[in-house]
């Protein structure tokens, strides 16, 4: 199972319980709820006959496990259900909004990675006050809520300086320049916490790598400082940074939900918040499924990158 394919297959098989557990949990929660979807659609004044008819139509009179099975087979056939709110196909609604969320998350991840690792490395090499500054920065990055930071960025860069639009989204296909401009502030708001967390954790990873004997042996044999830092130490530390990055990606995924709402970006997060406040059960079920898929995808990517970087896993 050492080949990349083997790792992918093992991971995907391992992801099945997670996907089943998340979606089944959603069903159980919904069954526990007082009232049901039919009631939500018809409102309190509906006749019992109409109510029973709708229940049957929606399959709500079936036992829970049959309802779940029905939904699951639907999903396997590509049918994730229909919105209660406006009758839109759930998979269609999600597909339209997925690129927004992915652009935001991937953008924030790249910015956090590049800036965070650079700061972490600088702090590991320079030591002293700069090292402690990173600890403080990490604390602040954890404490400043992304939605509030977003508001401050809007005030400064959109309202006062007018460099970027305050809200809204321009699709990549329409105008790539405007697309980047519309994402700049949301990415910055989301990435701030990521940068701080990655800077601190990668600093620790670099310090551990620097303290290992191979560094002093390479030095003693005249390997250049540049190569020791940017090849040897960076590659050894990158193993831990990959794991850190995976966890950070999941945090950022959660963060997109709030940040999209601040900047009125038409992504999965605004869709989810709207579906939640409207009680749109099929929509939220579909969104849960997509988020679970994204978690699986992130973990899979982390495993592949880790195996690619680490000869021990690759060859084992």
């Amino acid at each position: 199972m050492g080949s990349p394919i083997g790792i992918i297959v093992t991971r995907l098989l391992g992801a099945i319980p997670l996907l089943l557990a998340v979606t089944a949990l959603t069903f159980v929660l919904i069954a526990l709820a007082p009232g049901d979807v039919a009631q939500a659609i018809l409102g309190p004044d509906a006749t019992p006959a109409a109510y029973d008819q709708l229940r049957e139509q929606l399959g709500l009179n079936l036992p829970l496990h049959e309802q779940y099975w029905g939904w699951l087979t639907g999903v396997l056939h590509g049918d994730v259900g229909t919105s209660l709110y406006n009758g839109e196909s759930v998979s269609h609604a999600i597909a339209q909004r997925l690129p927004v969320t992915l652009s935001l998350m991937v953008g924030a991840l790249i910015v956090s990675l590049v800036v965070g690792v650079a700061l972490g490395m600088a702090s590991a090499v320079r030591r002293g006050a700069f090292g402690r500054a990173i600890d403080m920065f990490a604390l602040i990055g954890f404490a400043v809520p992304s939605f509030w930071l977003g508001a401050q960025l809007i005030v400064l860069f959109a309202v006062q300086l007018g460099w970027f639009p305050a809200t809204g989204y321009v699709p990549l296909g329409v105008d790539s320049g405007e697309w980047a401009r519309s994402l700049a502030l949301p990415v910055a708001a989301l990435a701030f916490g990521g940068i701080a967390a990655i800077a601190k954790q990668s600093r620790d990873a670099f310090l551990d790598a620097l303290a290992q004997p191979f560094v002093s042996v390479a030095l003693a044999n005249g390997v250049s400082i540049g190569s020791i830092l940017f090849r040897h130490v960076l590659k050894v530390a990158s193993l831990r940074i990959t794991t850190i990055l995976g966890l950070q990606a999941l945090t950022l995924l959660g963060g997109t939900v709030v940040v999209e709402n601040v900047f009125s970006l038409p992504g999965l997060g605004t869709l989810a918040a709207n579906a939640t406040s409207r009680g749109d059960v099929p929509m939220i079920q579909g969104i849960v499924l997509y988020y679970a898929f994204m978690v699986v995808a992130v973990n899979l990517l982390v495993d592949i990158v880790y195996a690619w970087l680490n000869p021990r896993v690759r060859a084992a």
């Binding site: 602040i140 290992q212 042996v217 044999n221 050894v236 193993l239 939640t276 994204m294």
Partner: protein, 624 residues
């Protein structure tokens, strides 16, 4: 907790939390109208701070400070629910998993992994879809989803405590598992639990305010911190002030929980230590002049002249080497011998200028081909490493970078020192692997360090040290980590390479068998000083210094790990405890009053023979 309170930052954090709690309890009682207030004075909407409204008014003319105070309760209630829920699940399950291990541990671990991978905020959305505006349900869900982090922390802390003896004693005394866990284990692991709990508090606060911001948990017009940020965001273009008070309150509160966690962790464990020093400063960088030419002149290839080195101990520099001198001629093998802690490795590291963090060469010179290395700039000195003087360390398995092919690592040295192309460097690397006696060097070059045995790894390390075609090879206990048959092979290899290449070899060792096998001359060190220098035959025939005598008599060759020498009582004193006068006086059978009077110099005895002892005459009639 007491220790935390003693730190100003910790006391400040706890005071802040206490004040916040008081506000959460009292504000809604003292300001009963605020919670249901739909609108305030509509004539003064969006007012800036003033004496009657210290934080101004919002879009509906309501007082911002009042709303902030009243909104504290709902925020803290949400936080307390989530944290108690996470603790109620995380602590018992973590204790159980860590204490019983086996099946329970695996099941708990599996469930924790599963919960860990759940998209937290979306699961909370599902709950809020079904229980609209139900903050209690949302925060219980959050607590459930955060409990895995506590399970992990508690489990690993329990595993450690479990191994301790008195738990075994409690078990043997027939105490029940719940009793042991609550009375003996739990009190011991409170530290990590509180650290993790304060982190969970921070996360819960973020999620609570985010949900309130999205207006999913606190129905209008009831005030909440997150909701107030949402109100402010709507009028951001015209009134940038309104988001500031609630935003700062949230930030500061989360900061307090984060800081509290850090303070508790710092008081219960060792603080962060600074980075190892990558390249210590050189005297040449400081503009200090080289030692006088008279002192640095000489015919030897490499000579160490009255070296003194200090290392910081608790911030105070302590002298660990004192007056260390010896030399190495072209093509010569010199052994640097002594017990562990005598300063032989420190001496070798001073030669290549790689002292441990904070170490400083305070006196003396390392002269290579007439140049004082200690007086060069960092850059000039680094250029000589590997090319003039190369290094083989005592732990072959960890001296190679684990993530690169060994051939690449050797080729990197070849490229650096000989400036060849990549393909040429790789070919040279394969040649070098052949030269160090590895069969099928092509295949070995493509391996990673973990795919080598200890003996192979040491051959590879030697090949890498040869990449710069050095004049001097320093081998620091090159055979210590290997088993006996491999030791002989590596030693034979070093001797062959040294002869074929005409290279000088400085061998650091504690093993007299190695000395007898390979060395031309011997330098014996004790407690930071050279105590005897002699040709190898002389030293075995008639050791002049009582320490050398004891070392050879006890012959640790047969017991390489021997810390104590059967013929010499005691151990090497730590640098702080060096006796006055002769460093060996407290272990020496021949010590007299004069030995501790003043420092003993290295005394010239005959050609090539010196010893740091005032009573060498006593051995003249009685060979060892």
């Amino acid at each position: 907790m007491i220790a935390t309170l003693r730190r100003p930052a910790g006391a400040l954090c706890l005071t802040y939390i206490l004040v916040l709690t008081v506000i959460a309890v009292l504000a809604p009682i003292l300001l009963p109208d605020v919670a249901m207030q739909q609108a305030g004075d509509l004539r003064i909407t969006n007012a800036p701070p003033s004496s009657s409204h210290p934080l101004g008014t919002d879009t509906l003319g309501r007082d911002v400070l009042d709303r902030l105070l009243v909104g504290t309760r709902v925020t803290l209630v949400g936080l307390v629910i989530a944290v108690s829920c996470a603790l109620a699940i995380g602590v018992p399950l973590g204790l159980l998993a860590g204490y019983t291990r086996g099946v329970v541990d695996r099941v708990v671990g599996w469930i924790a992994d599963l919960a860990f991978a759940m998209p937290t905020i979306i699961i909370i959305f599902v709950v809020l879809t079904i229980f609209p505006h139900n903050m209690v349900a949302a925060m219980i869900t959050l607590g459930l989803l955060l409990s895995p982090t506590l399970i992990r922390v508690v489990r690993s802390a329990t595993l450690v405590v479990r191994e301790e003896l008195y738990i075994d004693a409690a078990k043997a005394a027939g105490l029940s598992a719940p009793y042991i866990l609550s009375r003996h284990v739990l009190p011991r692991i409170l530290g990590p639990i509180i650290v993790q709990a304060s982190l969970v508090c921070g996360v819960a606060l973020i999620v609570q305010t985010a949900l309130a911001f999205l207006e999913l948990v606190v129905p209008n017009p009831q005030p909440s911190w997150g909701g107030m940020i949402a109100d402010g965001l709507r009028v951001l273009q015209t009134n940038a002030w309104l988001v500031i008070p609630p935003g700062l309150t949230v930030t500061v509160t989360i900061l307090v929980f984060g800081l509290l966690g850090d303070v508790i962790r710092d008081t219960s464990s060792a603080a962060w230590s600074p980075a190892p020093q990558l390249m210590p400063k050189q005297r040449g960088d400081l503009g200090a002049p080289a030692q006088s030419t008279e002192e640095t002149a000489g015919s030897a290839l490499l000579s160490v002249r009255s070296l003194a080195v200090t290392l910081p101990r608790d911030g105070v520099p302590v002298r660990v080497l004192h007056d260390v001198s010896f030399s190495l001629d072209e093509g010569e093998v010199v052994a640097l011998v002594g017990e562990s802690g005598c300063g032989k490795t420190m001496t070798a590291r001073s030669i290549v200028g790689l002292l441990p963090s904070g170490g400083e060469l305070t006196h003396g010179a390392v002269v290579y081909r007439g140049r004082d290395l200690a007086a060069l700039s960092r850059k000039e000195r680094h250029a000589l490493r590997g090319k003039a003087i190369a290094w083989v360390s005592q732990e072959p398995m960890v001296s190679l970078t684990p993530v690169f092919r060994v051939g690449w690592q050797i080729a990197e040295g070849v490229r650096r020192h000989q400036g060849t192309s990549r393909t040429e460097a790789w070919r040279r690397a394969v040649d070098l692997l052949g030269e160090v006696g590895l069969p099928d060097p092509e295949a070995v070059a493509r391996r990673y360090p973990h795919e080598l045995s200890g003996g192979m790894a040491q051959r590879v390390s030697i090949a890498r040290a040869l990449a710069g075609d050095p004049d001097v090879l320093i081998a620091d206990e090159p055979t210590t980590a290997l088993d006996v048959t491999l030791q002989a092979e590596i030693l034979a290899l070093l001797r062959r390479l040294q002869e074929q290449r005409g290279m000088a070899l400085l061998l650091v060792t504690h093993d007299w068998g190695v000395v007898a096998d390979i060395a031309d001359r011997v330098v014996v060190m004790y407690a930071g000083e050279v105590v005897e220098r002699a040709d190898v035959d002389d030293i075995f025939e008639s050791p002049c210094h009582p320490y050398t005598r004891g070392l050879i008599a006890s012959d640790p060759h047969h017991d390489p790990d021997a810390e104590r020498l059967p013929f010499i009582g005691g151990v090497v004193p730590r640098p702080e405890d060096w006796p006055a006068g002769c460093h060996f006086s407290d272990r020496c059978d021949f010590s007299i009053a004069a030995c501790t009077d003043r420092a003993v110099p290295l005394l010239h005895l005959t050609d090539h023979r010196e010893a740091r002892c005032i009573r060498t005459d006593i051995f003249e009639e009685a060979p060892a």
